[in-house]
């Protein structure tokens, strides 16, 4: 309907009512009532003409849009009338909605959105699974798959359309003419991996079946390497690049969006290429991830049971090798997000909590305002405004606040998401994290939920009273606002309880993080610089050449001024688990068939390794220059291995028989103290083999340098020494041990910091809420306090009175929050290290902090109340 039609209709309604009202009046007069009386009688019989005309017009109004526009106008005006309140409410909403949206964006991209593969619902990862529960405790319940297992699964089962495998690898990449060397992260994928995932090469092609063999020499580049190193120039396809000094032909480039399983990967080779053929026949080299595509007509459980049957047979055939009995499935998303799922859930719960607190706070502010407008609402009620109209108007206000906060919040969240993604290094699938339709829809529903939550309660409470009661209630009449005060106190109690839960979670996570940081890893952590390199097997093809390089380098580093010691080994403590191998002890009776062989972490070390890292020797000796290729084979074990496998015997002089390296007996010559392979994990049995013995894994080596001053200052001089020895050799991971530890704790530190931030914000909101309620209450009771003081109450008594009023909800909230925390800490229990979930110190500290903040928030209103001049207070009534 057009506006002029609306006008006409309005005039028509007025005229109709007027004529009928006149008629009523005439009839009354005709009955003999005096004209004056007739007018009133007609009005009485008729009712409220304004209201009737309004209701009649409402029949014609177009979908109530008119009403909404009117409410909008009124609400905007009301909000502008108190800019302070509006601004605070909008900021609170923006922070809460922004943080929640950000976290949801990450959760959606990482945990909820399927990967962009063909039919991702039918893809599943399959791992080996040991039945022994003690193995599961060491994270062997999802054990990587051995190549021979994978080949047997693929050949002997029929429930899956196809099965593909990929493995971790790392290369030193150089060009055909010895361009700048660089370490690149790589994966070896079976030839059918890309077709199975539905991934096509952006340029060129993917691998063929014949290329997936030990002498395969083709390579695919990921888009990032293609753009960065080859300038995005397609001529590179068909050319050769050198990996560890060996030529490989580039057959294709992967599309830009393909960053599975992580974005750091630069190169893909075929699964078998470069692997010795006998490793492919092994059932106990666990280094592959297997993805399978389920046949559409088969149930996952059926398909898996076939694989399980094959695996159990393999287990029976290899009783003395670590070949698992079962298999275990995992979705690809679960597999990628295993390290971040729990922190994400915790963070999302924390921001949800904060959003709740924010809404309650805005609700509290609105209750205060509606209390101030009590009279206005009473008058409008008496004039015939319907309750729904009043509620709708108040809801419109909270909706406006929420929308303004929501828009600001979503903008904030874009920045916050970027920050989160760049800070949180463990996040998988990073490039796909971003806001999309679902995230926007989520943000919109957040806005509406917050508006309802923060608006409905105050609106209902402020309009529930009858018109007369509202008008009769004077400010001297405290009873009139009793229910509203109770509502505010209840809101406050819930707010404080939620804050307590957040504070306790933050406290526990922080304490756990602090425990992690201060853990003794068992070696020197200050002034130790490490860097890694990997000697290419083509150039360094004999143990003599390898040893010559390593010994020359060590000699040069040790004579560098400022260097106290230097050592070389496969890994340093804190850098991860790395490889582990099964061993037997020839002096002991043979292991009964059917039990798994003992297993220990594999490390290599040079004669100076232990003294450079200050790992103490417990028995026997360190390696010497004589422990090298050609001389008797030796090994050093750690305390745990000695304790576990040589209970009361002297391990020195006994032997370890290790299959993969030389398939020989190694004499135990020393026992060293335990170190942590990763902070937060308990130590494992470890065996150290001499770097110089020639048959150790030629893979990466880590140089550890103990310096007398700031270790990073030595990084450039030492890298220069390496470059002088071999200009083609890339050096990677130049880090201090402290940095390695910090890096492995990044996850824990970020989670703890974020939850602490949310908790601090919540505490602030809660204290502002407490202050607001109490200030309002004190103003309400000015008259009463005036009377009390006039009757002889002392100022301390007034302070006590007001303080007690404010601290009561704080105490209730604290109790409620502490009780709720006992349940809530279960969520974070598994993330805690060296910290009890019910840590009494944390609970006590949180209670004390909260009480202190509450007292501070209450003191100002209480002091103000005590300064009331009784005469003044009574006169203003």
């Amino acid at each position: 309907m057009r506006w002029w039609q609306i006008r006409k209709r309005d005039a028509d309604v007025e005229r109709e009512l007027q004529s009928d009202l006149d008629l009523e009046e005439e009839e009354q007069r005709e009955r003999g009532v005096s004209p004056e009386e007739a007018h009133h009688a007609a009005l009485r019989a008729f009712g409220n003409p304004t209201l009737i005309s309004e209701q009649t017009r409402a029949v014609w109004s177009w979908n109530g849009l008119e009403n909404i526009l009117r409410d909008l106008r009124i609400s905007v005006r009301t909000l502008f009338r108190s800019p302070g309140f509006s601004l605070i409410a909008i900021i609170v909403m923006a922070l809460c909605i922004g943080a929640t949206t950000s976290l949801f964006t990450v959760v959606r991209s990482v945990l909820l959105r399927p990967l962009p593969f063909r039919d991702p619902d039918r893809l599943v990862m399959i791992y080996e699974h040991f039945r022994d529960p003690s193995m599961n405790a060491q994270e062997f319940n999802y054990n990587h798959v051995a190549p021979a297992d994978y080949y047997d699964w693929r050949a002997q089962t029929h429930g899956f359309e196809d099965m593909a495998a990929f493995r971790w690898w790392q290369f030193s990449l150089t060009g055909e003419r010895g361009e700048l060397p660089e370490m690149v992260s790589a994966r070896g994928g079976s030839w059918n991996l890309f077709p199975m995932l539905g991934v096509q090469a952006a340029i060129g092609r993917t691998f063929t079946e014949s290329e997936d063999s030990p002498d395969g020499n083709t390579v695919m580049l990921t888009w990032s390497l293609f753009e960065r190193r080859f300038g995005g120039n397609p001529w590179v396809v068909g050319r050769q690049i050198h990996l560890d000094g060996k030529p490989y032909t580039v057959v294709g480039v992967l599309p830009k969006w393909f960053t599975y399983p992580d974005a750091k990967i630069q190169i893909w080779i075929s699964y078998a290429s470069g692997l010795p053929p006998d490793i492919l026949r092994h059932h106990d080299f666990h280094f592959s991830s297997v993805i399978a595509r389920l046949r559409p007509d088969v149930k996952l459980a059926n398909a898996l049971s076939q694989v399980e049957a094959v695996q159990y047979r393999l287990h029976l055939q290899n009783l003395n090798a670590p070949v698992a009995e079962d298999v275990a499935p995992k979705t690809i998303i679960e597999d990628l997000a295993q390290n971040v799922k729990r922190p994400l859930v915790i963070l999302l719960s924390a921001v949800g909590c904060m959003l709740l607190i924010g809404c309650l706070n805005v609700a509290n502010l609105l209750v205060a305002r509606s209390a101030a407008r009590q009279k206005e609402i009473g008058v409008r009620n008496a004039l015939g405004a319907r309750r729904m109209t009043l509620i709708r108007e108040q809801l419109m206000e909270s909706l406006l606040v929420s929308i303004a906060g929501g828009v600001t919040g979503v903008l904030l969240s874009l920045a916050a998401t970027n920050w989160l993604v760049s800070t949180w290094t463990d996040l998988p699938n990073v490039q796909s994290i971003g806001a999309d339709g679902i995230v926007l829809a989520f943000a919109c529903s957040l806005v509406f939920a917050s508006a309802m939550l923060s608006g409905l309660l105050p609106a209902i409470s402020s309009t529930s009273k009858g018109a007369i009661a509202a008008l009769q209630a004077s400010s001297r009449n405290v009873a009139g606002s009793q229910s509203r005060t109770a509502l505010r106190k209840t809101l406050l109690t819930v707010e404080i309880a939620a804050t307590v839960v957040l504070l306790i979670a933050a406290g526990l996570l922080l304490k756990s993080f602090w425990r992690l940081r201060t853990t003794d890893v068992g070696c020197a952590t200050d002034n130790v610089l490490t860097m890694s390199y990997s000697l290419p097997t083509k150039k360094y093809d004999t143990p003599q050449k390898v040893n010559a390089f390593n010994e020359t380098l060590l000699e040069q580093v040790r004579t560098t001024p400022g260097v106290r010691a230097a050592g070389l080994g496969s890994m340093v403590p804190g850098a991860g688990a790395g490889e582990d191998d099964a061993f037997t002890i020839p002096e002991h009776p043979p292991i009964a068939p059917g039990t798994a062989l003992p297993d220990a972490l594999y490390r290599t070390a040079d004669p100076g390794y232990f003294s450079a890292l200050q790992i103490p020797l417990l028995r026997g000796r360190f390696f010497t220059g004589a422990d090298r290729a050609g001389s008797p084979k030796t090994v050093i074990i750690n305390r745990l291995l000695a304790q576990q496998y040589f209970l009361d015997e002297n391990p020195l002089g006994k032997h370890l028989h290790v299959v993969p390296y030389g398939n020989a007996d190694h004499e135990i010559v020393g026992v060293v103290a335990d170190t942590l392979y990763q902070v937060g994990q308990s130590p494992k049995a470890t065996m150290y083999f001499p770097v110089l013995n020639g048959d150790s894994n030629p893979g990466g080596l880590t140089l550890a340098v103990l310096t007398s001053s700031e270790p990073l200052a030595f990084s450039v001089p030492i890298q220069k020494q390496i470059a002088e020895l071999d200009p083609e050799l890339p050096v990677s991971d130049v880090l201090t041990i402290r940095q390695i530890i910090e890096r492995s704790l990044g996850n824990a530190s970020l989670t703890a910091r974020l939850v602490l931030g949310f908790a601090a914000l919540s505490l602030m909101l809660a204290s502002v809420g407490l202050y607001g309620v109490l200030s309002y209450l004190t103003t309400q009771r000015t008259g009463e306090i005036g009377v009390r003081m006039a009757m002889g109450a002392r100022r301390e008594q007034v302070v006590h009175l007001v303080l007690g009023d404010g601290l009561r909800p704080a105490l209730y909230g604290l109790t409620l929050g502490l009780a709720a925390s006992i349940g809530a800490v279960r969520l974070i229990e598994s993330m805690l290290y060296g910290t009890q979930p019910l840590d009494p110190a944390i609970f006590a500290a949180v209670a004390a902090t909260l009480l202190a903040v509450a007292v501070l928030a209450c003191l100002v209103p209480a002091w103000r109340a005590s300064q009331i001049d009784p005469m003044q207070a009574l006169r203003t009534e």
Binding site: S19, D20, L23, R44, G47, N48, W60
Partner: protein
């Protein structure tokens, strides 16, 4: 003002939806204006049904919007003034039949629950 807010206990509130039917039925006698319709219903029920203007006028306009009645300003025969007269349309007649039969079924259903004995006796 308060008289419209409170009802004397002897008077009943109209059942939801029956007002439309009563108005349509009243208009069956011929065109009438709002005041007449209200008075007629009130008088016919011996003041049992107290007509509330707050619901009468919105109801009239709702019927007009649905096309069941038409409205026209006409001079009243006994007063020398124009009133807004409502007149039943063909659509309105059909609607009256529909609502009447619905009401009958409703009333019978209620009666069967309330006075089952009377039902058996029949």
């Amino acid at each position: 003002m308060s008289s419209m807010g409170k009802q004397t206990p002897q008077r009943a509130n109209l059942l939801q939806g029956t007002l439309d039917m009563l108005i349509l039925r009243t208009l069956l006698y011929g065109p009438a204006h709002g005041h007449q319709i209200g008075k007629h219903i009130q008088r016919t029920t011996n003041d049992f049904l107290q007509m509330q203007h707050g619901s009468l006028y919105p109801a009239l306009h709702r019927l007009e919007q649905r096309g069941w009645v038409t409205a026209k300003w006409e001079v009243a025969p006994d007063r020398n003034r124009e009133f807004k007269y409502y007149r039943l349309t063909d659509k309105g007649r059909k609607q009256l039949v529909v609502e009447e039969s619905q009401w009958k079924r409703m009333a019978e259903a209620v009666a069967r629950v309330m006075w089952p004995a009377a039902e058996e006796m029949r």
